[in-house]
Amino acid sequence: MTGLILKAEGLDRSFGGIHAVKDVSLEVPQGALHAIIGPNGSGKTTLFNLITGHTKPGKGRVEFDGHDITGMPFAKVARRGLAKSYQITTVFPLLTVFENVRIAAQAASHANVFWRPADSIKAVTRRTDEVLEKIGLTADRDAIASNLSHGDQRRLDLAIALATEPRLLLLDEPTAGMSPSETASTVELVRELNREVTILMIEHKMDVILSIASAITVLHQGEKLFEGAPDEVKSHPKVQEVYLTGSL
């Protein structure tokens, strides 16, 4: 449980006139449940995209598990053990719930061959069932993904990420658009998942994250405003100001 799984140094990115992420550094130790919070448009998703290779950084460097992954294509980063769930739900809409998760589990098994039926690879179907069970989608395994409720689709999004057996899980607002009870159960789920995998999580709702995070980074207008333990963040005057007034 020692060592950093993720280390970002001086990440910086502008879009035209918008300076979305300004010189942000981040260190995530193995086993952490690190949260990133901040108001709308504060650069949280962009920071994720800089880490995953979706967006090339203007400046800065990303190290995953001791290896430089700056600007590396997402698929390659994913193969190294970094998975991400999406702020805007991204699943395979016309495939069944089971197949959605099975595809991800298959990726982890490296069984990408074409001379044997996919369904006959026992380790993959077992892993799929396991993940469905853990996420609580077993009852919906044969449903078409696009028929699920919004909350269940959010959870399926998470299940796909989890099934790839990542060492670092990036969650972009997993509770977005969920009802209070769905939010509560998802938070509980995230806490449970953290026993097995390091999590870096964006969350909009501060109350949600305070109870479970091991560390919190506060972003504001692309800059790191503060970083520390949850209770420090809660009592920090600048953070309160941002959250109470909406902006500085």
Binding site: A75, K76, P93, Q106, A107, A108
Partner: protein, 351 residues
């Protein structure tokens, strides 16, 4: 005909996907999967064709076109990659087989092997370029390559025979170890039909196996969300390229068989069929491999029936195609396997 197809093919995926979603919503479950049963269905269809189609070369043509359309559907239906230029590998396969038979050997094995394998290699090059773009831009690139191929075939007189084509492709022979068959489509159509049926069935079964393989499943996932497939760590471009190569090789094989059947390869009809084969796919339905096969059989039946009564049969085929796409965008086979059972269930539920 060829003018009609791009528009129809471009609209269809949208309506088809939408229809599939609506249907999936209505039934709340995945459409019935007929995966392995498709091989059995094809055997049945081949037998039906053998006993009901009076014109033997039409019956053999149905098998050949059916295989070609099924291969194209790997790209269109399973991969979401609509090729507007699938005449290229078919025509190329025809020329390759024709040239081997004329100049090198009359062995069907060698001719078909050369047609299939060299087309696979060529597909790797063409696919590497076309797959740099997606959606309609991909389609346009495939069309551009087919046009390029057409002009090469037209201009390169010494090899392709240009406008006149390659006439007098000799009758091929098939060595089977214990005996040697002569594949003469005119004098002994039954042998030709049976040999073709075996080749087509084995290839079709291999295609089914591919769609159910891990890689084939990834192909379908990429169609649904390439971003997410990348996020799982898949090299999505490579999976699509492999599919492009398989579809190309199958078309090359079909083209080679067609050259052997007609003992002729030329600009007509080979290069004019990109739209036709797409129509076969969409008519039959894109959710399976059997669907396009059925689409090919029906299309050719329609064409041969209508052309007996009227010279403007293309107009009627086009009109029927338009009506079919409007009424059942999921294709004939999609209609039979999803909509009809759904309606039956509803009427049974109402009672």
């Amino acid at each position: 005909m060829t003018d009609l197809s791009p528009a129809g093919a471009k609209d269809a995926p949208v309506t088809d996907a939408a229809a599939a979603v609506t249907l999936a919503r209505a039934t709340g479950s995945a459409p019935a999967r007929w995966t392995w049963g498709q091989i059995g269905l094809l055997v049945v269809l081949a037998v039906v064709v053998l006993f009901t189609v009076p014109n033997p070369s039409l019956a053999i043509g149905m098998l050949i076109f059916g295989l070609w359309a099924a291969g194209l559907n790997l790209l269109v239906g399973y991969g979401g990659l609509v090729s507007f230029g699938h005449a290229l590998p078919f025509a190329y396969g025809g020329y390759a087989a024709g040239l081997v038979l004329k100049n090198v050997t009359t062995s069907a094995w060698v001719a078909l092997f050369v047609a299939t394998v060299s087309m696979a290699l060529l597909s790797a090059l063409i696919g590497a370029v076309c797959l740099r773009r997606t959606e309609v831009y991909f389609s346009m690139l495939t069309l551009a390559f087919a046009q390029l191929g057409f002009f090469i075939a037209l201009q390169w007189n010494d090899v392709t025979g240009g406008d006149d084509g390659l006439a007098g492709v000799p009758v091929s022979t098939l060595e089977l170890g214990f005996t040697t068959l002569e594949l003469n489509g005119l004098r002994d159509p039954l042998t030709f039909f049976l040999v073709t049926a075996v080749i087509v069935l084995l290839t079709f079964a291999a295609l089914i196996l591919f769609t159910e393989s891990p890689m084939g499943r990834v192909l379908q996932a990429i169609r649904e969300s390439e971003e997410r497939a990348r996020g799982c760590g898949y090299n999505t471009r490579l999976v699509q390229l492999v599919t492009f190569i398989i579809a190309g090789a199958v078309a090359g094989l079909a083209g080679g068989l067609f050259a052997m059947l007609n003992n002729f390869v030329g600009l007509q009809p080979y290069w004019l069929l990109s739209g036709v084969v797409l129509i076969m796919v969409i008519l039959g339905g894109r959710s399976s491999l059997f669907g396009p096969f059925l689409g090919a059989v029906l299309y050719l039946m329609l064409e041969s029936t209508l052309s007996r009564y009227t010279d403007s049969w293309q107009f009627f085929v086009g009109a029927i195609f338009v009506i079919c796409v409007l009424l059942f965008p999921q294709g004939l086979w999609g209609l039979l396997t999803t909509t009809v059972p759904h309606l039956l269930r509803r009427t049974r539920g109402a009672r």
